[in-house]
């Protein structure tokens, strides 16, 4: 396929293969590069991880009752956070798999980073379905279909059962995909490492990579196959998560538009989170040459596009509530979302997810990193609120008015949520320090393509733009 590598915007500065190896490899090999900022973030993450460990211990000791869940609101922060985290993971898979298959080379500088986020987000997410059960010690194996003497199988009709398979598949495929992509880079770093211990440590995961043509051939095949497997997962995981709600009879949950709208929401939240991490890190570690303003611009555009899909979903929800002529649905929409005790959450959601991202129509907003960061935060909050509006709010009032009850979270609800955020930061900053956060060899490949293209079309070459918009 003939395409025009945007050399002036995907990689800036005077780059050679060696500078790339050095600049990216240095984050791992030159540990002195990590200064106070790293330690602040790491400590913050560690504290959060500690809080998470504390709340998990207390949860296992005391029971789900430490949270604010009740009857009728049997699912609240636990499932809200689960869906939120798993959604965040989706950007990584989309970037690494779908953009790879679509040969979007601009993904090369952000895919490693986004994939790591996927893994860590799925780790955070995966804890919730297990820990939210009343008896995790039996849930951990009764949810799996193992042949047993009682002849009892899990209930395959239950969306929660599908969840188990969806999330576990997603995690294992993502992990594998990430690791395979890392192998050539481990080898590069192994070769460049001077410290003996670092050499050994990097040699082990490098799996004896020598960069032979055979290796590359196999690598490409494996990577492509995994991309093929991952692609449907991008769509299926969140679709199945949405079935947890869509297949129930709860007003506010029972909406057929949920699968596409959840997937779009996941990508929306995921890109916001990628930018939330990418923007400060590229600044701290001076990676602006690899993650350029153009990258941010593209990501903003995807955020805007998916945001519009999500917003359309909100409008459809209202439409269906009215069109269904079901008094329960309309009651939910009108009395529990537009008005009622939690209306603030609904309108905040509409602002965060519907209104705020519209700023990305304006090129200036996509270029101004402060604005981008701000809108990304709105999106993250908005997507969390979306799940809050759907999950506990719908449960506070449904069929019999006598069972309408309010839901109030407790300290431990926030502790667990804050704890997983901390845990995520903790893992991200370990990743920044000990693994190459940008795919070195893919960047070199990109550089090669840019340079060969440039040679071929030297005469046609456009004047160098400084990351402006095209």
């Amino acid at each position: 396929m003939a395409y025009k590598p945007l050399n002036d915007v995907m990689i800036t500065g005077d780059q050679t293969y060696a500078t790339m190896d050095d600049r990216i490899g240095a984050l791992v090999l030159n540990q002195r590069i990590h200064k106070r900022n790293w330690w602040i973030m790491f400590t913050l993450g560690l504290m959060g991880a500690g809080m998470m460990a504390t709340s998990i211990s207390w949860l296992l000791y005391r029971g789900i009752g430490i949270w604010g869940n009740n009857v009728p609101v049997a699912w609240a922060f636990d499932i809200v956070n689960f869906v939120w985290w798993i959604g965040i993971g989706h950007a990584g898979t989309l970037i690494s798999a779908i953009l790879l298959l679509l040969r979007q080379q601009w993904r090369n500088s952000i895919n490693r980073f986004a994939e790591a986020m996927t893994i860590f987000a799925v780790m955070c997410a995966g804890m919730y379905p297990l820990l939210h059960t009343g008896r995790p010690w039996v849930a951990i194996y009764w949810l799996f279909p193992f042949p047993n003497i009682m002849g009892v199988w899990p209930n395959f009709r239950s969306p929660l059962m599908w969840d188990v398979f969806a999330v576990s598949t997603y995690f294992s495929v993502s992990l594998l995909f990430w690791f395979i992509g890392l192998v050539p880079d481990f080898a590069t770093l192994r070769d460049k490492a001077k410290n003996r211990y670092a050499k050994v440590a990097l040699a082990l995961p490098a799996l004896g990579w020598r960069g032979s043509a055979k290796h590359w051939h196999r690598y490409e095949q494996a990577y492509l196959i995994l991309a093929g497997i991952s692609t449907p997962l991008v769509l299926s995981v969140h679709t199945i998560v949405s079935y947890d709600f869509a297949s129930s009879i709860v007003p506010g949950w029972n909406v057929t538009v949920f699968p596409p709208y959840f997937v779009a929401g996941a990508v929306f939240a995921g890109f916001a989170m990628v930018m939330t991490f990418a923007i400060p890190i590229r600044k701290i570690y001076k990676l602006e040459d690899y993650i350029t303003a153009r990258h941010i611009d593209w990501m903003c555009k995807i955020t805007l596009a998916t945001g519009l899909i999500v917003f359309y979903g909100y409008i459809l929800e209202i439409f269906y509530a009215w069109y269904s002529a079901s008094p329960f649905e309309w009651d939910m929409t009108f009395n529990r979302r537009f008005t009622g005790p939690y209306a603030w959450a609904y309108w905040a959601l509409i602002f965060c997810n519907g209104i705020a991202p519209q700023a990305f129509w304006i090129p200036w907003c996509r270029r101004n990193l402060t604005v981008v960061m701000l809108i990304c935060q709105f999106v993250s909050i908005g997507m969390w609120l979306e799940r809050f509006v759907i999950i506990p709010m719908s449960l506070t009032a449904n069929f019999l008015p006598a069972s309408n009850k309010m839901y109030y979270p407790t300290f431990w609800d926030f502790a667990m949520f804050g704890g997983t955020i901390g845990f995520f930061i903790f893992l991200m900053f370990l990743f920044v320090r000990f693994l190459p956060i940008i795919n070195i060899f893919e960047m070199k490949d990109l550089l090669y393509k840019i340079q060969t293209w440039a040679k071929k079309h030297d005469s046609e070459r456009e004047p160098v733009a400084t990351g402006g918009d095209h």
Partner: protein
Amino acid sequence: MQNTTSTNEPIEPNTTAVEEMREQIQGKTGKAYWRSLEELSDTPKFQKWMDDEFPNRSSIMQINRRDLLKFMGASFALAGLAGCRGMFLPQDKVVPYVKAPEEMVPGKPLFYATSVMLAGYATGVLVEQHEGRPIKLEGNPEHPASLGALDAISQSEILNLYDPDRANIVINTSSPSTWDSFSKAIKPVLDAQKAKGGAGVRLLTGTVTSPSLLDAINRFLAIYPSAKWHVWEPVGRSNVAEGAKLALGKALDTVYNFKDAKVIVSLDSDFLSPTANPGSIRYAREFTGGRRVTGYKGEMNRLYAFESSPGLVGAMADHRWPCKAAEIFGVASAIAAALGVTGIDGSAKIPAESAEMLALVKDLQAAGSSALVIAGDHQPASVHALVHAINAKLGAVGRTLQYISPVDGGVEKASDLQSLVGDLNSGSVDVLCMIEVNPVFDAPTDWKFAEAMAKAKTKIRLGIHENETGLLVDWHLPLTHSLESWGDARAFDGTVSIVQPLIAPLNDGRSSLEFVSFLAGRLKSGYDLVREYWKIAGLGADYEKAWRTAVHDGILKGSASPPVATTVSLNPSSLVSPKVGSSLEFNFRPDPSIYDGRYANNGWLQELPNPLSKLTWDNVLMISPAKAKELGVVDDDLVEIRSKTGKVKAVVFIQPGHPTTTATISLGYGRTAGGVVATVTNENGKMEGGGFNAYLLRTSDAMYFTEGFEVAKLSGQFDLATTQGHQPLEGNKVSQFPGDHREIILDYTLEKWLAEGEAIHKELEESSEKYKKQNLYPEEIFEFKGAQWAMTIDMNTCVGCNACVTACQAENNIPVVGKSQVGRHREMHWIRIDRYYSGSEENPQVNWQPVMCVQCEKAPCEPVCPVAATVHSHEGLNQMTYNRCVGTRYCSNNCPYKVRRFNYLNYTDNQKQFDVRIDDTKTNVRIPLLKMLNNPDVTVRGRGIMEKCTYCVQRINDARIESKKQNREIKDGEVITACQQACPTQSIIFGNEADKTSQVARWRKDPRGYLLLEELQTRPRTSHLAKLRNPNPEIKTAEVTH
């Protein structure tokens, strides 16, 4: 932890106490030795040594470091060993009976008849007993006050029996003692009194209906002729007796016959509530019996209610007028005057309009002898007198009511508490014996009982808990529970029941009969005393046979008091009219759950939602919405109520339908002693419950209602725990747009139903068909040709009394979760009674809707459970497999009826009550007391498990086993669910729907029947029957919206 035996090496006490004991044992052999040890163990010194963890040290601080470490080391090592019990430590032996008790089959319950008392009046019960362990109280069908049903409070007596906080040893001025010491100490005191005829002896009891106890008291008074007997009931019936004296010349009890009543006027009487009337269960049965409608035919009685505080009667009433309690006299006068009772001035201002009163009186006159006017026990004597005159004028005496000589034995013989206070203050009381009363807590404040009591030289209290009064006495003696002792009692109509023990006393207690007899010098067991009494009183020709029959039946047949012929002679000038002021009237009422405070240590009752307010664990200042607006307060606001004698902090609760001119305060809360549950407090920001002490406001001149208190708003709010929040009015018809026919409650007027019932039913059928057509699945889901269980609840006769809730709790081992958990909406009751209002905020109509798992044929909970823990049985039950449940709670989310309950915490074990254990020093066995209460047929659920109503599947299985043994089908009516059994009004019918002749099949086909949320096509097996009302067409106020 308690030190157990001296074989425990490190704790070998080389102290004088043990030396002394050894000395005593020395030189004795064989039987003497053992007897001596027993004697020894009864000495206060030994008891003290036994109770002390570190004997002869005043505190743990006196143990030196090395010893402490040694103890710790030993404890840790032994703690480790405890885990290995069964591997190499001797195991507790479980052996079968060598000689089985008669009739006992292990695993099969036995039922014994006995009675429980509420404020002295007996209700007959059948006690379910498993292997000698009573676990549940059910109504005795032969008993006139029960008819097979049982109210919530009486059912909770079983929890009182196992209450770990019960007084379990004799306490002498706050140190442990024994009965022997007591008897030795009291003998000289009594002997000294005997010399002066017992002039310094006072006996204080609650209401006594027991013939044998009355006899014992008489014997006591015969020995001590100058001694006096006083009776104190905080919510007594003295006004009733006074009223009867005014109108009838002597104190007589009124027994009503609602069966024949066609028009009933309640003057602030909550005759459907057990806290307001001792015959409530029977009255509820008869009253609702007169309102049953089958098909399109039927008659209903008509109930008019004047209410100063919203209660069950007002909720059932066809016409209701909220008013001040003081205005009732005016209402009674108006009715009396209109009916032509001579000399009555009926011109007082009353809450009803004159046209309404005219219609009411016309209705009464038309009903004639089938009319009935009933006044609340708390109403002043003058109202009762007027009501007697009204009923006489209507000719109702002998038909809808009759007079009997008073059941309360104290009415004629005993003095009141006020005279006792006088005697105490004059210093003439030497010995004060109290039985199960708590006047320090509940006597009117102006009598200052605690101060007066301090003047008695010897104060003795026999009581089931060491309560506020118990803490101030010299001798506190443990009282046995009625399920542990022999006795007798009489019901509201005078019927005598023999009370038999179901279990050996758990504590070292004596019954009140034994105690009074002991004071009179007769040291005999309760059994002998009761038998002797009845031998003399006469039971029949063959005494032994008659006795056995009476004990077996639980009642003495034909012992109801005969009607007393009497004539009403009312002197109108003797009627004192209560003053009606212009300010807010405060009503003191017994709490619907914990009564006057005596049930405060009962977790079941504390957590039982009050019928209308659905409030648990607290009492409140209950006011109307309009009054709240006027006072500038909202729900949960803290206020201070100031009276002349005191002030208390209270929480505002706004109750729709509450009279605007009155406020209600429940008595019995704010306990400071008497058990862990009774004394939960709201301090330190912890939401525990416990309420405030309304007795601090109550004075002897205004026992039930008064004006002139001030209400001052304080800053801050206080969280109350309710099981159902405020809904908008018309909450049952939440129409959002035209065409929205969402109806959760169906209600019609009788007139409309009789006229248009068939058309209404046809319309319902059509919509039902429409829903069925939307269904993708075939009509017959269950191919199984066997029993198909179903239930029907008649909302028309449900009075909202909560009996079913407690019955379910007792039957199904449902834990108490505590106020903070109820506040988080995690109450565990499997059955709830939803309350819906319709109409205006000032005087709404109330509908009760009991909802438990409706056992959907296509249950939304089932497909969503990932581990198949909730599945369907072939008999149509939606079953929970507790073992399999992992607690995802998805089933609860998907349940449209929200009847599933989740164990968010370890509710079964985490209650404070379970931590307290009694220590049987004789065998060193520690008994986790409340675990004895559990029904062995029902799994006790642990943390993290979902649970719900099972249609009492254990009872179904029991019946199935019986039927299989006899090679037959299960008969209709053989399986009775716990809720059905307890229901006083028989509003719940359960049975096999597949058997078209069964009662449930007939009820389900009743045209009033409908399925809750039928539009969801969950196909519930529980159906509800529509509510009917019978308003007087001449009165427009209470128009039903349909």
